[in-house]
């Protein structure tokens, strides 16, 4: 329904509010056609997205529960003492039921861990993470409430944490290592990589290890991360970088390793876990997930279903409006539907 009241010159038609214009009017026909088109687009897209999601092979192994399943045998896990330097070594045996094409990704998943709490997300010092040595006073606002570590120096004084803050010092320090992969009883070579698991931008710009000399010079005043977490050499450790990118929701997955070998069906992966991270205290849970990817990333049913649902709603509304239009239409512009009277 294009209107034809455009005028010749731009300023004139602009000032006179007579620009060439299009007046869309929400007529039933228009709506029915539009909804039909939307349905015709959304339903196939939804089906495709659902298919993509279904194509993702995923094995979730909640090793903090202590109870395994046929796909996931847990051997001696969930015995964290909570003491430093006391690691509980346990093993998971994950059976791949369907072939998982390379690359396969290994995530750890935490539940009920509020990495998005307001105080938690604020409690970090980015300058410190970039390798600066800062005093307690200059960190007090950034890292509150966790500035001092728990390991005293030679004089028995507590030292400033490097890095300080809640995020850095609640680091998920369970370790995973592939012991063996077996297919039909035979060991198969599997490439396991723990690099390239963090955002490149984070790696390059945000985290700088303190040089060993500087570290030695400040050892009396600062408790460096290698002391806090013996497994972590410096803040440039990729697992640490992954951890520092806080999760949005209390249940989250973080990437741990990438397996660049296609895992055939019935491949058994034995994974050694160095268990350090307690979850019982906060009623949480931790899992290991191995997963392939799709266009949506990991397994993601929601988008596909939502697209199908929106398409279906559109189709349903189009049909409903069509029935209304066919049975008792309101002719557009007809005044008889208005109750008008004059006195």
């Amino acid at each position: 329904m294009p209107s034809t009241d455009g005028s010749k010159s731009l300023p004139g038609s602009l000032y006179n509010q007579r620009l060439q214009a299009w007046h869309p009017i929400l007529t039933p026909t228009w709506v029915i056609v539009a909804f039909a088109i939307v349905a015709a687009i959304f339903i196939p897209v939804g089906i495709w997205l659902k298919g993509e999601s279904d194509g993702v092979q995923e094995v979730v192994c909640k090793y903090s529960s202590g109870q395994g399943s046929s796909a996931c045998l847990i051997n001696g896990c969930n015995r964290v003492s909570g003491q430093r330097n006391v690691t509980n070594n346990c093993t998971l045996v994950i059976t791949v039921e369907k072939e998982m094409a390379a690359p396969v990704y290994l995530y750890y998943e935490l539940d009920n861990f509020y990495q998005n709490h307001r105080r938690y997300v604020k409690s970090r010092s980015d300058s410190q993470l970039r390798g600066e040595i800062l005093s307690a006073s200059s960190l007090s606002s950034d890292c509150d409430p966790l500035i001092y570590g728990d390991i005293p120096n030679s004089k028995g004084e507590l030292r400033v944490l490097h890095p300080c803050g809640l995020i850095a010092n609640s680091y998920f320090n369970d370790t995973f290592a592939l012991r063996a992969a077996q297919h039909d009883g035979n060991n198969v070579p599997v490439s396991w990589s723990e690099s390239g698991i963090s955002w490149a931008t984070d790696r390059l710009n945000k985290f700088k290890a303190v040089p060993a000399s500087t570290r030695a010079a400040n050892n009396e005043t600062h408790q460096f991360i290698s002391e806090t977490y013996p497994g972590v050499a410096s803040v440039e450790d990729e697992h640490f970088i992954v951890w520092m990118r806080t999760a949005a929701l209390p249940r989250f997955r973080k990437l741990y390793a990438r397996i660049d070998t296609t895992l055939k069906a019935n491949t058994r992966l034995s994974i050694d876990i160095g268990e350090n991270f307690p979850v019982k205290q906060f009623g949480g849970a931790k899992s290991v997930v191995i997963s392939t990817l799709s266009i949506l990333g990991g397994k993601n049913d929601f988008l596909g279903i939502a697209y199908i649902a929106v398409g279906a709603v559109c189709a349903a509304m189009a049909v409903a409006f069509l029935i209304k239009e066919c049975t008792c239409p309101r002719r557009p512009g007809d005044l008889k539907y208005l109750r008008l009277s004059a006195r």
Partner: protein, 962 residues
Amino acid sequence: SSRSDAKPGGPTGAAAAGAGAASSAAASGDKADAPERALRGRSATAVGVSTPVAAPGVFFDEAFSESLAATGPESEAVVAFATIMAVCNTVVPEEVDSDDPAVGSRIEFQAESPDEGALVKAARCFGYELASRNTKGLTVTLAGPPSSRDEAGKRSTGKSRAAAEGTPVTFTRLGTHKFSSARKRMSVVVLDPRDKRCEGDPAVAKGRGAPQGAWLLCKGADNKMVDVADPSASELARKAHAVLDQHLTAFSERGLRTLVLGRRWMPWSEVTKWRKDFEAAERTVGGKDEALERVAEKYERDLELVGATAIEDKLQDGVPQTISDLARAGIKTWVLTGDKVETAINIGRTCKLLTDAMGEPMRVTATSREGVLEQLRAANAALDRFEQSAGADRTARPPSATDRDDDEDDRHRLAAGSSLNSVSVPGGKPVRTWGKRTPTPPTCWAHPSDRPKGCLGLVRRAWDMCRLGASWNCGDGGIVVSPEAAGRTRLPKGLVITGPALDFVLRRGRDPVTRRQMEPDLELEHELLDAAQRCQAVIACRVSPKQKADIVALVKHSRTTPPMTLAIGDGANDVGMIKAAQVGVGISGKEGLQAVNSADFAIAQFRFLKRLLLVHGRWSYRRMAKVLLYSFYKNVVITCTLFAYNAATGFSGTSFYESLVYSTFNFVLALPIIAVGIFDQDMDQDSMLAHPSVYVSGLRNLHLNVPKLTLWILHGFLHGAIIYAAVVLPFSLNAGPVWDPVSGLSDGRAVAGLSAFSAMCWAMQGKVALLTQHWTWIHVLMLVISQGGFFLFIGVYQEFPTFAPEFLGVATNAMGRPAFWFSSVLATAGVVIVDVVLETVRLMGCPTFIDVATERAGGIVDKDDAQARPWGDEGDVHPGGSSHARQLSRAKETHSSARLATQRAASRSSMPQRRPGAFRAEALQSVSAGPSEPPSAAHDAPARPPPAGETPDKPFPAPSRE
């Protein structure tokens, strides 16, 4: 000499009668050369006053000229009459070079008020041309008529006189008493060189060499002049006064603005005294005006009245049409004028404010409080009676909840040109609750005649029953509302009230004399408002500038349904009123710039008010409503997502969005809604001009009210939930934050927040797109800039590791995830689809008048339907009767000829405009009720010829109903 002894007596009496009868110079504005002049002159004969014959540019009255040429006491008065016209003014003559070389230079007049200019011009036509003016005096060129009585007899006939070279006569002006609205007159004290007694040196106070005296020449409003007329007038003079009165009445009944001219001979001793007083007053510091006023009062007395002038105050183009269109739009017009009652009523009739259907207007003219109260009560009683009789008609009809024909009936009347705005509640039971739910018959979902039979019919019937049971009022679009609820309906009655009577009513603020706080007279105020709000037309005459402002203030602050007031005027005396009203409009005209300078809007002609209100006013309101509601809405949406996220953070108050990104929200989304706020049009201007009833949007505040706001806020909650779900659910279910299809990287809070924010922006743009009813390239450009700007911003902002470490790389990473885009599309689609579904259901079931009007304006009309059913507010047809059908069909035929006429009118537009500023002052009061009767416009063509340049592109269905 006996002649110069102008004492009251014979000559005076003759003068008054003579001047009055001779012509009382009906000058027509300042454009005496307009062809309409002649028309006016002819129609004047009917009143029985001598006929001024008009040639282009000339005001000529034979009888008057003859009297001017004749000798005798009568002629003497006529000369005085012409002299006063030429001399008693503050007009500045200016010699300008004429375009015509044959004529050479000519004199043009710079007048403070157009009335004065008109009088001076008229005097020129009699041969009294004001040629120059300086501080000491002024020169009048006499084109031949007797410059003094003595020579009069020797003069030859008119024709040779006209050819004669003018004689300059220089009057020495001793002083001027300026016009004031309290005195309503002005005067000059002059030495007339034609008068021997005035010979002498005016500088000499007394004795030899001094003149014998001077003339005080005065002109002013008739009642004020009669007050200061010589009380010792003879029998003859009194008779002449009676004739004068007669003529004044005749003039004002024709809508002419009258002035009375008078003079007094002041002996030199008095002049000396006056001079002392006058000079003392001029020297006064502080209160100079009051002092001069007192001097004027003191000496303007015992006047010998010499005649009356009448000036036609031409209405500007299109005033009647504008007033009737405004009435059809549901706007009520009050005229506040300084004119006399008869003049005002006549102007009211000319501009069709008062229609024949109204009969004689009710008058409130008493000069005592009791009298005013009585008259107002009588007026209200008459209105009550009228209302009851009208109400009886209504209740006589069968209740429509059961009677299907009722709707048919309504439509018939609608087609008959009745107003769409006032609607009665069927069933004869008035429902007093505007805004509350009123039981309405089930005509909304589908019309009974469309009702399917059989099974579907049963469903429909059940649905109707439910609806009735729920008392669901779906017609709140200004359609189903009782007159009682929407304030009192206007009745086709006129009310005229005078300034003196208003003095008793308007008792707010401080007393102008005693400066004491006055006690408001609530009883009178109530009676006046009650009557005035029910009358279709209200005219207040003889009101002072302060009263104008007070009336507007009274109406504005009336306790029952205080309306929105608009004051429009062109003169300095309208300034108070313009400032008092919510909307002040100034007409830039000949009466100076004070009105324009103090107004909110300045327009060049009264008729542009129609466009100002019906087009720009309505658009502006609609746009404002959209911008406001949308601004509330979008902030509800963002707050809603923040709140939802808070639940996922243990209610710790973590912000979902990066702080700077969050604060760009209202900037990012500003441009598209600004474009809507400036350019949106729900209807095109031609449709709105052709159908003023759509103005009901603003009158009833249909688009910006508490229910609307509530609805929008609820939408905000719903849409916030949809957006949050569309983004956060894919982030939390199944694989959670793994959206990276390439490296399987896990994303965190930053990506989730940015995704939600981006999806929300898309969705909000979708919402603006739905709001936009008028798509121009500007709207598209704004959407592109807005959304493109957002991506540009996040792209740049993510590049500062030290400034915003939290946001580093977030945009690149997020935009690299397909799920980011899929969730944005999902959120936008969800929001838009929900809105479209709700809106479509509403439009299918419960369209409002504005919806239907928009459809008609947009041209989405069933073809058969368009032919069969007019808008109903075409208006210019007679309501009721069998003649209307004929007229309607005639309307179709005349449509094309009306267009032709328009074109002709347009080609004539190079002609000089008629005097602007003729239409004095209106307080337009909008009440919630619509006009109860369409303006009677029998003399108009059935199809209104559109004003020049406003020809609708697409003609609306020409009515052709049987």
